[in-house]
């Protein structure tokens, strides 16, 4: 940033523990929110809204969920997509079985269902750690995918296993245009991101990070391992569940177990690795990166007027992903968010090196 916080003194602990302590940052975020809430729904093209921004926001929410569990509480999970699937199918079934249920309530209940399932699959985390826990959550991924394809009840015995999402309505307003879908998604994601940030800076966030950094010491200073870990699983899965419901209802318009396969879990995991493990901002940066990279590559392909085949581009995407993941793991394990922080620190003293 080409601004400094000089002259901005904090005179209370409340001001010191605020999310944005610098006036310029507050201004920037206010402007960004105004742009997102007021300007974009009116001016953005349908493609920008439905093709880029909605997937970006929904995947950010899923990344946020995984970041709570993996980035803050340090519990590695490969089951994010499974919890998204639970959210999507639960929301669908709540709306189907209880006619007249409001959409937002159904999404909330879908998230709660995902949270319950998350807690169940989080129980092994009390005994096992690291890679072994990752494998246990992988079991969740395969098991849940199997349940939704095997038992017809969840898909209301639809022959293809794919169900069309019912029309959506919030407070009597039909959610049928890209702009209204975008605004619904944006509102939910913005509120949940704020809630995640608040939890991260309060005692529950500190308890999660304590368990992540040194679990023995955390227990010795009085943090109950069982409750704290399970709460991380519950809240993380709630976020993933809501993201899954939005993914199915708002983005795809269909509820389909295939949309929440292992590939999706890895995609969300890559987002937090590239974006920044243990960072709210990182969840958004990672999602933006992973949503935008294929689009940029596509544009690149068009620029060469077919000189590069689409197949090659698809392969190039995989190669770039792989390369970047390795790059981030070696060079900057805290991802884009950390790079951004370093850049800010450097610019703060610029043009001096220290």
């Amino acid at each position: 940033m080409f601004y400094r916080e000089s002259g901005q003194f904090k005179s209370s602990y409340a001001a010191d523990s605020a999310i944005l302590t610098i006036a310029q940052d507050r201004l920037f975020i206010a402007a960004l929110l105004a742009l997102a809430f007021v300007v974009l729904p009116g001016l953005g093209s349908d493609y920008l809204l439905s093709g880029i921004l909605i997937p970006f926001l929904i995947l950010s929410l899923a990344a946020l969920g995984l970041n709570i569990l993996t980035g803050y509480a340090g519990q590695l999970s490969l089951g994010s997509a499974a919890f998204m699937a639970v959210g999507a199918f639960a929301t669908y079934n709540f709306m189907l079985r209880l006619p007249g249920m409001p959409l937002l309530l159904a999404i909330f209940l879908g998230g709660l269902s995902a949270a319950l399932v998350g807690v169940a699959f989080g129980l092994p985390s009390l005994r096992i750690k690291g890679f072994y826990l990752a494998v246990a959550t992988l079991a969740a991924q395969f098991f849940i995918e199997w349940v939704f394809t095997k038992f017809g009840w969840f898909t209301n015995y639809s022959s293809s296993g794919v169900i069309t999402a019912p029309p959506m309505q919030v407070f009597g307003i039909a959610i049928d245009t890209p702009a209204s879908k975008y605004l619904l998604t944006l509102s939910i994601v913005a509120l949940m991101a704020l809630a995640a940030k608040n939890m991260a800076r309060a005692s529950i966030g500190r308890a999660w990070m304590a368990i992540r950094d040194m679990d023995v010491a955390a227990e010795v200073i009085g943090i109950p391992m069982l409750r704290t870990k399970l709460l991380a699983f519950a809240i993380s899965s709630f976020y993933c569940g809501v993201a899954g419901a939005l993914y199915a209802f708002v983005l795809l318009g269909t509820v389909d177990a295939q949309a929440f396969d292992l590939h999706r879990s890895f995609q969300v995991l890559f987002m937090i690795i590239v974006g920044g493990v243990g960072s709210i901002l990182g969840s958004f940066l990672g999602a933006a990166f992973i949503v935008l990279l294929p689009i940029c590559l596509n544009l690149l392909g068009q620029a060469f007027h077919g000189a590069i085949s689409t197949q090659f581009l698809a392969n190039l995407e995989m190669m770039l992903f792989g390369g970047l993941i390795i790059f981030f793991l070696i060079v900057e394990p805290h991802g884009l968010a950390r790079l951004w922080q370093i850049a800010k620190e450097k610019l703060r003293v610029w043009p001096f090196p220290h």
Binding site: N198, M199, M209, V216, E219, I221, G222, L231, G278
Partner: protein, 262 residues
């Protein structure tokens, strides 16, 4: 020594503790008492079972035999977080700070037990959560002042030199306002100046807050200076228990440390 400080009754009693790991006997039939407001040192050669004793006291290890009576309440199996709830705090031999967090957050985590707001209130960061955060921050700032670490408040602990990390760990333990503070080699690897600072802090904590302190230390000069009582362990057995002067003259202790001529 401060004449106003009065050593009170026994607050913690270990009765005939035996602890073994497979065939290795870490502690054999050890009994000891800790009195309120005193500074008790546990000394002994490497592998004598000093750290195991602390781990038994705060519930990290569960002894096969014997029991610990803390404030009149006997317990055989207790989880460390329950010990913390009852006012037992500790530091570790190898620094066990939360590396990814700032000094302030580390110390604030020490006060997590004092916070009662649930996660929904915290997600909203309104009302109770905000009041609690500020009230606890004020307490934490007092400890930061007390240990003279104001200048590193916002620094990630990983970037601090060893001596300061030890001090932050003490701060985190103090943040819980413990009745009984267990310090596992608080001065290991420090230079003379840092040791002097740490001794001053330990005595000040004991004086000002009346905290009972059990510490493990290898520096005999420090131990003899600041302890009210010394317990000596060797090969998992207690070989001495008394005032520093008594320990200095104890033949078994001298033999354990210096060896005997045969």
């Amino acid at each position: 020594m401060n004449p106003h400080r009065k050593i009170g009754d026994v607050i913690l009693q270990a009765e005939a503790i035996s602890l073994s790991f497979g065939g290795v006997k870490a502690l054999t039939n050890i009994s000891l008492e800790v009195r309120e407001h005193e500074v008790l040192s546990i000394i002994g050669p490497n592998g004598a079972g000093k750290s195991s004793m602390l781990n038994v006291i705060n519930g990290v290890y569960h002894p096969q035999q014997g029991r610990v009576i803390y404030r009149g309440e006997a317990r055989s199996k207790m989880r460390p977080h329950e010990a913390a709830r009852q006012g037992i705090a500790r530091t570790f031999q190898n620094i066990a700070l939360f590396k990814g967090m700032s000094v302030l957050d580390n110390i604030m985590t020490g006060r997590n037990l004092k916070m009662r707001s649930n996660f929904i209130q915290q997600a909203l960061y309104w009302g109770r959560t905000q009041r609690e955060e500020i009230a606890n921050r004020e307490q934490v700032e007092k400890i930061i002042d007390f240990l003279e670490i104001q200048h590193i408040r916002k620094t990630p602990v990983g970037r601090l030199p060893y001596g300061l990390q030890k001090r932050v760990e003490l701060a985190r333990a103090l943040a819980a306002e413990p009745t009984l503070l267990l310090l596992d080699e608080p001065m290991a690897g420090m230079n003379v100046e840092e040791k002097q600072d740490m001794c001053r802090f330990i005595l000040d904590v004991n004086d000002e807050f009346g905290t009972t302190i059990v510490l493990i230390e290898h520096d005999m000069g420090v131990v003899m200076d600041i302890s009210d009582r010394v317990v000596v362990l060797d090969y998992g057995k207690k070989i001495g228990d008394g005032t520093p002067d008594e320990i200095r003259g104890n033949a078994d202790v001298i033999a354990a440390y210096l060896g005997t001529s045969h």
